[in-house]
Symmetry: D2
Subunit: 338 residues, 4 copies
């Protein structure tokens, strides 16, 4: 198939290469002409404006937008749409808020343009491993573009078939799924990222407990401001954390791709000394927690993971000062300095 | 009545003064002779050793031990007991772990000595307001010493009677309660402190949300590492936190003594700038969470409050570094510096 | 002053009576004519339509709307506003979402009508104790209506003055506070209720731990699906929960109005057998958690309290089934029926 | 090598078969003679008592004990040890509390018997996939028994080598690791299971949010006891949960063995209707949370996962009743029935 790609960063360029490798033809555009040139050198057709891009695509056109989330996506979708016609399709492959998808799909639908929201997981490894695709929007457009999804997704052979599944291979077994109408793709991707936060935190907390299994070997203040450690002899282990993450990769219940990455990170940097521990969050975790709250569904684990990221950046400090101030008031406690 | 007091710090000295003011006679001992002298000047009988203390008390003797928790309590109880006889009573008024009470009561009971564990709440205000007393141990000893509890506790007039209570005033309406056999007093005090952690955190978190109600007025990075704030106009309030804590003191559902103290702290220091936000925990919160876990009872609020204190002291950092390292692996994310 | 009141339920009627008792004159309207008649009997002027209400008020008019939150507030504000003119004021005293206040204030402001959002705490006790008032909107209108706030709020004498406060009595010491522009009153009330959820949960969890302090006395299955209780002797207390809540009311750090109410509830019903434990949440707790998330502020305690309410209503069940299904897959575990 | 196996349940029998398949010789014992006979039929040597077992092993003997955790392990270790001599080794492959290992290792060490604690992960799939082994105890004994660990663990070829690892294959790359002195194996296994709880809960919560993405399509009560859903149009998705778990298996960041199992469970039972959602916990999750608390390390995610299991079994109910009782007191709220 022929596809236009707007936004040629790491993810966008990776998609173009994966598409061309599989025989699709790509017309590419980016505000940075060097990014365009690099892909033209590899066989893509370059465009120097949205109008040029639209003109180089045959109808019905398909334009994939892969730009950082937020305002840039909004303005890019609007600009691209000005050059498209009824029957064409715009794909938003970024991490948009699904509520924006619902609105955009309605606006573009009024002009006959299909808007598909595509949640894309795979990170920097996606070019090689394939991307997991969660699609929302018009079923007809999703079906028409199946060759694209097949190229981009990892393919059925990348994991053993789930026991109990028989017969024809379903799209979800190839790594792509039409999740529902507009916004459903990004909704499922949002929850996916929420789960990711929770699972990451599970490993992080567990490794922290292992890293402090030597608590009983340390000198400990003996004062009313320090909780006693009743049995120091139970905390006298010096655990080799990189080795533990490695041993869990084979045969254990917690084996996962996240664990593989953790083991790799700890080979690179056994003490993690180049990290300060300020953990960013980029939106999906927040939206997942908000969805849980609005649905009335408890999500204590996912939300605790999100809050720990907030705390890691110092955002709890005002509240913590309030606590210290209270303790001083009722108990005459003075803050310990370390 | 006559009572011996061992440990004349802020709490112990306060108890002695409250007891003497009500006509009881006190024999007092502390490793620091100045502390003894100060109370002798106010009418107490001084002792310069445990033997001396025991010798100056008439049987059946009652010795109240009020020393910082931990090993010091253990050795003090043992030393005092060497000078007592069957029928005498030892009171541990500190924040001992109730499991130690169970053991000590059994050991001393073998010699006929009563051991009472007394959870004492009231902080630095107790001398003036009276202490809330939670008692564990032998019922006979508790009853015999009722005059002590009556003097130390705040008294029924310090709060309106609970609707529905009629007839004679129960001990709990005076501010003291026999909670059960050995350890029950400190068990109830432990849970009391666990609740205190949770309630304190509820205020602290709420005030932190108010303090950040101006988030939409701040400049915000626009990059893939910063979650977008979709509606900055919803976060454009500059809330006067000290005034809010004051207004809630009258008529609101969250009025409490802790709120009174918070309001007082914020009058003293509206910006809390002398606090860094490193919040200590002194044992009871941990024990409460452990009790919940061993009982199989969910305590998400009390435990979250405890964990936030751990985080405030930097104890989450290793786990946070693991998260940053994972994010770098799968997404090529680099830690933001602020 | 003269004031119009729309919505004569428990809260609205209570406000009218408190206002009239203090010499204000009230014109009252409700969709239920009986509610109007009851207050007319007590001295109010009745109205049978919004037009009638507006006609019976002298300019600048003040109309207080006290209806259940949600769509009804929206339509009532709109209907009332149709009968008002520039310079008049509408007060929303319900539990509206502060975001709706921002919008309404802008809409009404365009016509010169002042819109004040008033968070009101005090529950069913407010008529007697006074209501704590958190106000948002135009400062001029707030000041003009100070006599109303003074009547409705509890008054400075209802609590001892906070140490460190000197000079003139501030409005917040009387129990009312202008928190900021439109929405600020309901924002502060929202966070107030979030704190209330957290504090309530702190007591509930603590009492649950006390209620299960007899876990070691119960027979316990010995199988691979039941966690062992290593030391049953540490959990052999039968705690008198109503007595504990009573004893904490005097002198303890956790004394509060919520505790007073808990003690009263347990006198009425020591076993709480008429409750099933399905705990509603009415919106403010959700909005508080969402505000925390959007601000990037950790609120683990407030959110855990909210989620526990969701769980209490069975909303975790699908997730729990997923867990049971996973355990069956990897460990062959079958659900225990107990 | 030659090894004795005590306890021939699913795990013990699987180990024996895996060992014999690789050329080791096994002497087997179980209180159930049928279990012995079944393995004898497959080539094992049967024993009808501990004495018989010990007699049929050549020194230095190695006896692996694989019985359900708790008291049975304790008594079995004691009984087996009576028939062993200095230089022999006992392996505890169950889920013992690591504190018991520390004690047992000291007791047996006094007689010259080595005690190794072996945390074993792999569940019912271990016979086929191999078990992940976490070992604690004397380094010499661990080294001497390396042929056993190599047979039982999955082997290096079962996962791609971690990038950055070079040179000889480390034991942890084969799937076994000497974690430290007595107890270290079960300590690491305990934390492994804690992580497992957290990761499981992350998936469960996420899927629950997806399952309720249709909340806006349901009829909703409009009353003061029901939180409003401001934008039902944002919750109008009917998500195919089994398909979502399948699509995430390929290329996504949350791919894992737990996800594979979840997908398999949902093929077997798309509605999970045979599960009630009462989720057991068998000890390790509790111990992990207790270790975090005693170390002073925050573990909000792991603990929230544990508490949700407690809640799923109804253990929050007393606290929930307290909340309903409070709400009735201050707000006159009556519990909703569904």
């Amino acid at each position: 198939m022929q596809i236009g790609m707007v936004g040629l960063g790491r993810m966008g360029a990776g998609l173009v290469r994966r598409l061309m490798r599989d025989g699709h033809s790509c017309v590419v555009y980016d505000v940075n002409p060097d990014a365009v040139a690099a892909l033209v050198a590899d066989g893509a057709t370059g465009a120097d404006s949205y109008a040029d891009l639209a003109g180089k695509l045959e109808g019905p056109r398909t334009v994939w937008i892969m730009v950082p989330a937020g305002e840039i996506t909004e303005s890019t979708v609007t600009s691209v749409a000005e050059h498209l016609s009824a029957g064409d399709a715009i794909i938003d492959g970024g991490n948009s808020y699904y509520r924006d998808d619902i609105r955009r799909a309605a606006e573009l639908g009024a002009k006959g343009i299909h808007y598909l929201d595509v949640g894309t997981s795979g990170g920097v490894y996606g070019l090689e491993r394939g991307f997991c695709l969660m699609l929302g929007g018009d079923a007809g457009a999703v079906t028409r573009l199946a060759p694209l999804w097949r190229t981009i997704s990892p393919g059925v052979e990348t994991a053993p078939r789930t026991p109990g599944r028989t017969g024809d291979i379903a799209p979800e077994e190839e790594g792509w799924l039409h999740c529902g109408p507009a916004g459903a793709g990004h909704f499922v991707k949002m929850v996916h990222n929420g789960i990711e936060y929770g699972a990451m935190a599970a490993y992080a907390e567990g490794l922290n407990i292992l890293a402090n299994a030597n608590e009983g070997l340390r000198t400990r203040a003996q004062d009313a401001e320090t909780a006693p450690l009743d049995h120091p002899e139970f905390y006298s282990y010096e655990i080799d954390i990189p080795a533990v993450t490695e041993v869990w990769r084979r045969g254990s219940v917690v084996a996962s791709w996240l664990l593989d990455l953790t083991a790799a990170a700890l080979v690179e940097s056994p003490q993690l000394e180049e990290f300060s521990g300020r953990v960013s969050d980029s939106g999906e975790g927040r939206w997942t927690a908000i969805a849980a709250i609005e649905e009335g569904v408890p999500a204590p684990v996912l939300t605790a993971a999100l809050y720990q990221r907030f705390s890691s950046r110092g955002n709890a400090t005002y509240g913590d000062k309030v606590l210290s101030a209270m303790r001083k008031q009722f108990g005459g406690h003075h803050e310990k300095k370390d």
